[in-house]
């Protein structure tokens, strides 16, 4: 696996490139941030100068300019900070949206074998939180760090111009507060932060499990197990948070120490030099009081480092879930908005022949299916039968090009079946095909985008759902729940058959259509197969329901070698 060796830092850089984070916008945010905290430093310096000057009882006119500058800094801070926050969040949110799309595209073009095992809790915990974490790297990581560097530079310059040794001392304390806490935070938090994200993901998964299967847990008395599993995940999460919090607390203490130390050395230098007569009272006041304001920016460093570490771990997980092509190839861009046909619609042929030659199929570490040979011509329906668990679904994936054959050959119009055929020449209606949380009509349009309402109604009539749609409150525009939860098993299956009928691919594989079908459902399947045959399509159905075999032209029986299940 390519992602195995990717360092988190590199993954974060790639993710930020993917997120198309704009340099110009980022620089703008850093400038606003520098102006904001720089205003606070400027306010402290000019106010100190003004008070010191005034103590010498000069003419009030001598204070006029300083008074204006002090007020300017007083207004500037709030204003510039507001602009910085808006600019940085805008940069990050844009990045998050872009990255979300890129990750979706990468998943969409990944081998089907990688996409299939994604469980719901994982997807939820990972893609949502991890992509947001990459966005947080900008707002809470990169921009505050850049602002800390530039503001510290300004403060040290002010001190060094007047008293070089004071500048050097301030720089040393700022370095302790910045680099020292950064190193401390990074060293201890690196493992802890990645553990924390993993532990939180487990908490999410266990929460989901405890809630979704609640009735089953209630009946079987396993609620306590589910809650214990959550509590265990929560304990791990607490330990990970502890480990991450300890260095954070230490860093906070070091910050207070550095700011206090800077105050002590500055006062010592300023007062002793002033008494020695090497500097005037105004300079002494500026040098002595500058540390009170100079540490604000650099105090953001530990949080920034922690954020960057968390974001990098998140970016690495994103890359593991949705790796880049080995060649670093960019996946094809998304279609323009609006629903069009499949990406390779131009390559769709009007009729294809499917052929298996001594074909056997297997996922890694699975017993292969018995080799079978058959040909399905356009206008034919072939049924593959065999006991459950024997690998019929695996054989289907191989026939459709989603999986390389274990032995023999799968051919589509004489070419070796490949991922390129799946969705172009051949479509699959899987046993557990997804019903989207949208309208009945949009669910049918998942087959292809240019379906008219009349075509949709015709397909629904074929599967015997015409009357059912009439009873729905909004007809075709009725929302069906997430995962199709509000339709019954039989309705769901027939909706999927209607969708299969509406696909434009010349070949279609329907997996295990006998399940959850009542008499009406079986009729629907027969009607769909008849229509597909009329249209000259090449159809394979996979079933263990022997009652359905009369709907097929031929039957192919499979069984794994040396097994009778």
């Amino acid at each position: 696996m390519t992602a195995g060796g990717v360092s988190p830092a590199r993954a974060l850089r790639r993710a930020l490139t993917d997120a198309q984070v704009s340099r110009a916008r980022t620089t703008g945010a850093v400038l606003w941030g520098t102006a904001a905290i720089g205003s606070a430093v400027g306010l402290a310096a000019t106010a100190a100068w003004m008070i010191a000057k005034a103590a010498g009882m000069p003419s009030p006119a001598d204070l006029a300019i300083a008074a204006v500058v002090v007020r300017f800094f007083g207004v500037g801070r709030g204003l510039f900070r507001y602009l910085e926050r808006l600019a940085s969040h805008d940069v990050a949110l844009r990045g998050v949206v872009a990255l979300r799309v890129r990750v979706y595209e990468r998943l969409a073009s990944a081998p089907p074998s990688r996409v299939l095992p994604l469980s719901r809790g994982q997807v939820m915990a990972r893609l949502g939180a991890d992509i947001d974490a990459v966005g947080d790297a900008v707002v809470r990581g990169l921009i505050p760090t850049a602002v800390a560097v530039s503001v510290s530079g300004v403060a040290v310059t002010i001190a060094a111009i007047t008293v070089p040794v004071a500048g050097a001392a301030l720089a040393a304390w700022l370095l302790l507060a910045g680099l020292g806490t950064a190193a401390l935070t990074r060293r201890s938090a690196r493992v802890a932060a990645s553990k924390g994200v993993t532990a939180d993901a487990l908490v999410t998964e266990r929460s989901l499990a405890a809630i979704e299967a609640a009735p089953e847990h209630l009946v079987w008395g396993t609620q306590a197990d589910a809650m214990d599993a959550l509590a265990n995940a929560e304990t791990d999460s607490r330990a990970a948070h502890e480990a991450a919090a300890r260095p954070a607390a230490l860093a906070a203490a070091v910050q207070v120490l550095a700011a206090g130390g800077a105050l002590i050395t500055s006062i010592a230098i300023a007062v002793s030099q002033a008494f020695a007569g090497t500097i005037g009272p105004t300079t002494a006041a500026v040098v002595a009081l500058l540390p009170l304001a100079a540490f604000e920016a650099v105090n953001a460093i530990p949080a920034a480092v922690q954020q960057l570490e968390r974001s990098a771990a998140a970016a690495r997980r994103i890359e593991e879930l949705a790796p880049y092509d080995d060649a670093g190839q960019v996946p094809p861009p998304a279609e323009q908005r609006g629903n069009r046909g499949p990406a390779s619609a131009s390559a769709v042929r009007s009729a294809v022949t499917i052929e298996a030659r001594e074909l056997s199929a297997a996922w890694p570490q699975m017993a292969p299916t018995r080799p079978v040979s058959f040909v399905v011509a356009p206008g034919e329906v072939v049924a593959i039968v065999g006991p459950s668990g024997i690998g019929k679904t695996t054989l289907v994936a191989t026939l459709a090009g989603a999986l390389a054959p274990h032995g023999g050959e799968a051919l589509i119009d004489g070419e070796r079946a490949s991922v390129a055929h799946l969705g172009a020449a051949i479509a699959v209606t899987a046993e557990d095909a997804h019903l989207f949380g949208t309208t009945v009509f949009e669910n049918l349009r998942a087959a292809r985008g240019d379906i008219t309402e009349a075509q949709a109604r015709d397909a629904l009539a074929t599967v015997g759902l015409a009357a059912w749609v009439e009873t729905l409150p909004d007809g075709l525009d009725t929302l069906v729940g997430s995962g199709g939860g509000t339709v019954s098993g039989g309705e769901r299956r027939r909706l999927l058959l209607a969708r299969a009928l509406l696909t434009r691919q010349p070949a279609h594989v329907i997996d295990e259509p006998g399940e959850h079908l009542d008499a009406a459902g079986r009729e629907a399947l027969r009607a769909v197969l008849a229509r597909m045959r009329e249209e000259g399509r090449t159809v394979v159905i996979v079933t263990h329901d022997l009652d359905l075999l009369d709907a097929a032209d031929r039957t192919v029986s499979i069984g794994s070698v040396g097994s009778d299940a």
Binding site: S39, L43, M50, I51, K53, M57, S59, P60, A67, V70, G74, V75, R81, Y82, A98, V101, A108, S109, L118, M124, L127, T204, L208, A209, I211, E212, A214, V219, L230, A231, R238, E242, A248, A253, V256, L263, I264, I267, V271, S272, A288, L289, A334, E335, P387, S388, G389, I390, L422, G423, V428, H434, A446, S482, G483, G485, G489, G490, D518, H544
Partner: protein, 528 residues
């Protein structure tokens, strides 16, 4: 938005203890800050004063910081001790904050998840199941910044700010007046802007949950779209959903950050005004340099906690809104099915449905509609009928997992007594049923199995249990014909030992093996 949700303090123990300790540490911090300002002014005053200092610029407060601190080494020693104390307090406070935050979140999450599980299968099926998980996980995690950042600053604002203001008042009433006039403006603006952000933040969470559910739905459907060659189109939809969320979020941030800006503007400008005023009054000798320095150092400290409260307000608003959603779940009453009486022993009992009617979640239909039958011990009773007419719902109602809208479920015991489900402990009733649902979950380990494997494991668990009532929902789905035959044999065997077997199925072999067949019908809900 209330800055502290009283329910958090009232119901969650760690939250209460944390607030008390943090308030005490805040008080100590206030005293340290005051003393440090005095030490700074003592150290610098002799340098800046045009003539040797005669009066004590700190007045009676000088008792806390002796005049001896005008000597540089004494002042530095004082500051050194104060810095060391502050370092220690910072360490302790940070450690406590994290621990308390994590504990409170874990406690709240456990309660929400446990309660959500009690809200019943209809509630889980209605789709709230997905959004409550977002609330219980990512939403509640938003409480950590609330505990670690916001709450300590809020408590500092309640200790440091008033104490320092009193000190400034004693030193120089004009500076205190400037500060005193601006401070009331801060809460006024906070409340005004807070009122605006509250609705926005709630909407933001709602939008986030909706977007999460829809993006999740698209990704869950990715294998299906891939198989149909339609996998590239929804990227545009993902972008569109994301852009909508970005615009909504920026709109909310523009207002949320406004409160921060007004806060910083008011507080920083007030500090600038104090400095400028002090400068001009120093020129006329109206105030001593020692006093002026102490006030100049203290003025920003009065505002600092208020400013930090503003900075962390947005993060805390998200966390508190999530806590609010969590308490809303906790305050939702589960629909009670049974009553208070002890559940009867269902061994050898018949389960009797009389006119059982359940409305669909959209209330458009009744499925089942007026279902009446008796499932006897030692017999197999098959529920048949078209999909969607309420077979699975009827099974849930028979087990006491959901309440019917009309009709009743009862047990006729072996001694002839009839006990209505509505009068007894429904949980204890349900635990006497060996149930195999349509898509069994089997807990954490079940998630790695295929549908067929889960079905077989769930059936084995049901057959091997000693529960008197077997409730099987489409038990032969996902099984091959050999396994189907085995299921029929085992069902007959279960009836033969006197168990009450209720099966929902389309399988002709299974229906043929049943002792009685009951047709389940649905109807449109009567209008009005």
């Amino acid at each position: 938005m209330r800055p502290v949700d009283p329910r958090l303090l009232a119901r969650i123990g760690p939250a209460r203890r944390y607030v008390i300790v943090t308030a005490a540490l805040g008080l100590a911090t206030a005293i340290i800050i005051g003393l440090q300002a005095f030490a700074i002014s003592r150290a610098l005053a002799p340098v800046l004063a045009p003539a040797p200092l005669t009066e004590d610029g700190l007045g009676w407060l000088g008792l806390a910081m002796p005049v001896a601190a005008r000597d540089l080494s004494v002042a530095l020693a004082w500051i050194g001790v104060l810095v060391a104390l502050r370092v220690a307090i910072t360490w302790v406070q940070e450690r406590l904050a994290h621990r308390a935050g994590v504990d409170v979140i874990a406690a709240l999450r456990a309660r929400v998840v446990a309660h959500a599980a009690r809200l019943g299968p209809r509630w889980v099926a209605s789709g709230d199941g997905a959004s409550i998980t977002t609330t219980a996980t990512r939403g509640l995690d938003g409480l950590l910044p609330y505990f670690v950042r916001y709450l300590p600053q809020l408590l500092l604002a309640c200790t440091v700010t008033p104490l320092m203001l009193l000190v400034v008042l004693d030193l120089d009433w004009i500076s205190a007046a400037i500060i005193g006039l601006t401070i009331p403006l801060v809460p006024i603006f906070m409340v005004l802007i807070g009122l605006l952000t509250q609705a926005r933040s709630a909407r933001h969470i709602e939008a986030m949950e909706r977007l999460a559910a829809r993006t999740l739905d698209l990704i869950s459907g990715l294998p299906t779209l891939r198989a149909l060659g339609r996998h590239l189109g929804p990227a545009a939809r993902v972008r569109e959903l994301g852009d909508r969320q970005r615009r909504a979020t920026m709109g909310s941030l523009r207002i949320a950050f406004l409160s921060g800006m007004v806060l910083e503007l008011l507080t920083t400008l007030a500090v600038a005004l104090v400095a400028v005023t002090l400068g001009f009054r120093l020129v006329y000798g109206e105030v001593s340099i020692e006093t002026a320095l102490a006030v100049l150092v203290l003025a920003p400290e009065v505002y600092l906690p208020l400013r930090n409260v503003g900075t962390h307000f947005h993060a805390s608003a998200d966390g508190l809104a999530a806590a609010d959603a969590a308490f809303a779940v906790l305050d939702t009453d589960p629909s009670r099915v049974g009553g208070s009486g002890p559940a009867p022993d269902l061994t050898g009992a018949a389960i009797v449905a009389t006119g059982l009617t359940v409305a669909t979640p959209d209330a458009a239909r009744h499925a089942p509609h007026r279902l009446s039958f008796e499932a006897r011990p030692g017999e197999v009773t098959a529920l048949v009928g078209p999909n969607g007419d309420g077979k699975s719902t009827a099974l849930l109602a028979l087990m006491g997992l959901l309440a019917g809208d009309a009709g009743a479920v009862a047990a006729r015991l072996s001694n002839g007594a009839t006990v209505p489900l509505a009068e007894v402990d429904a949980d204890a009733w349900a635990r006497q049923c060996a149930w195999v649902p349509q898509r069994p979950d089997l807990g954490v380990e079940g998630r790695t199995m295929s549908l067929g494997q889960r079905e077989r494991a769930a059936l084995a668990r049901a057959f091997e249990s000693d529960r008197p009532v077997l409730v099987l929902d489409e038990p032969t789905a996902h099984l091959d014909s050999a396994a189907r035959g085995d299921v029929v044999v085992r069902i007959r065997a279960a009836a033969a030992v006197g168990r009450t077997v209720i099966v929902a199925s389309h399988e002709p072999a299974l229906i043929g093996a049943a002792d009685r067949v009951v047709e389940v019908l649905s109807s449109r809900a009567a209008s009005g």
